[in-house]
């Protein structure tokens, strides 16, 4: 008994749209990071669903690399957020409008 591929794709489309809406709507930097993680998860669902029958596991390997890149990205972004918080005393995206050359 197999689950149709379309179910995976529609679930992933839903998750990607919600992540995109979070990135557009929210102003708190960490919540924006959460939206990006949701979009990466949607991409992972797609890759895993496409390589479901593949014994070479090409999609799953790519998905594993995406997992690692997401972890590295989250670490660097949080370090930048901490530094920006020290400087601006805020984590609201709209307050990060001042540039120092």
């Amino acid at each position: 008994m197999e689950i149709p591929l379309t179910y995976f794709l529609i679930l992933s489309a839903m998750l990607f749209s919600i992540g995109l809406a979070i990135v557009i709507v929210k102003r708190h930097t960490i919540v924006i990071l959460m939206g990006i993680e949701l979009m990466l998860n949607a991409v992972n669902i797609n890759l895993v669903a496409f390589s479901r029958n593949d014994t070479m596991l090409r999609g799953q390997s790519l998905s594993l690399f995406i997992l690692v890149v997401a972890a590295a990205e989250a670490v660097v972004v949080l370090a930048i957020i901490l530094l920006a918080y020290k400087h601006f005393k805020s984590v609201n995206m709209d307050d990060f409008s001042e540039l120092h050359g």
């Binding site: 379309t6 995976f8 794709l9 529609i10 679930l11 489309a13 839903m14 990607f16 749209s17 919600i18 995109l20 809406a21 979070i22 557009i24 709507v25 929210k26 102003r27 708190h28 960490i30 919540v31 990071l33 959460m34 993680e37 949701l38 998860n41 992972n44 669902i45 895993v48 496409f50 479901r52 029958n53 593949d54 014994t55 070479m56 799953q60 390997s61 594993l64 690399f65 997992l67 690692v68 890149v69 997401a70 972890a71 590295a72 989250a74 670490v75 660097v76 949080l78 370090a79 930048i80 957020i81 901490l82 530094l83 918080y85 020290k86 400087h87 005393k89 984590v91 709209d94 120092h100």
Partner: protein, 187 residues
């Protein structure tokens, strides 16, 4: 037939908790709801024959990234000293609600109408050599990581090393008066 219902339960869990993150203004509640999304995605991976990735998803996302997000929320929150005895909530403001929702609904409806009409005939099971039933993917992933995917594997190792050093360096930068060209930093 029952396995489809379990899939749909997982899908509802994922979408409901993701919608909660979109809806809620409380950042800490959003972080905790994200837990259910990540667990649900791990469950979906199991449905697609990816047992190793499901475990890796739980370890990396739930055990790593989510904890990191919660730490980020804790470290960037200043308690309100004027109101003692009142619960501190970390809140986010919403902005462009209509635009964001509109873009997301547009994207989703486009995908929803297009995706079921694409014939993915090359991906059907009889085009591949068959998996043995109940066989784990761990062995194959290990073999392909060091044979076919060895270059991306090394690149990922370098990326992680760079991220480790970079994050440590960025987080330890101290801001004194000299750092930003003599401009005083507001305390």
């Amino acid at each position: 037939m029952q396995i489809q219902y379990i899939f749909i339960i997982f899908a509802i869990m994922i979408v409901a908790s993701a919608l909660f993150v979109l809806w809620s203004k409380n950042v800490v509640h959003s972080a905790f709801m994200l837990f259910f999304t990540f667990i649900g995605v791990a469950g979906i991976f199991v449905f697609a024959n990816a047992d190793y990735l499901a475990v890796a998803q739980i370890m990396i996302y739930v055990g790593g990234i989510l904890i990191l997000l919660v730490f980020g929320i804790l470290l960037t929150n200043k308690p309100n000293k004027d109101k003692i005895g009142v619960t501190n909530t970390v809140e986010t403001t919403n902005y462009n609600r209509l635009l964001g929702g509109g873009v997301a609904i547009l994207l989703f409806s486009g995908l929803f109408f297009v995706v079921p009409r694409i014939p993915f005939t090359r991906l059907e099971a009889h085009n591949f050599e068959q998996f043995e039933p109940l066989k784990s993917t761990v062995k194959n992933i290990g073999i392909y990581l060091i044979t076919e995917n060895s270059l991306p594997f090394e690149a990922i190792a370098l990326l992680l090393f760079g991220a480790l050093i970079g994050a440590g360096y960025i987080a330890k930068l101290t801001l004194n008066e000299e750092t930003f060209q003599g401009k005083k930093i507001k305390k």
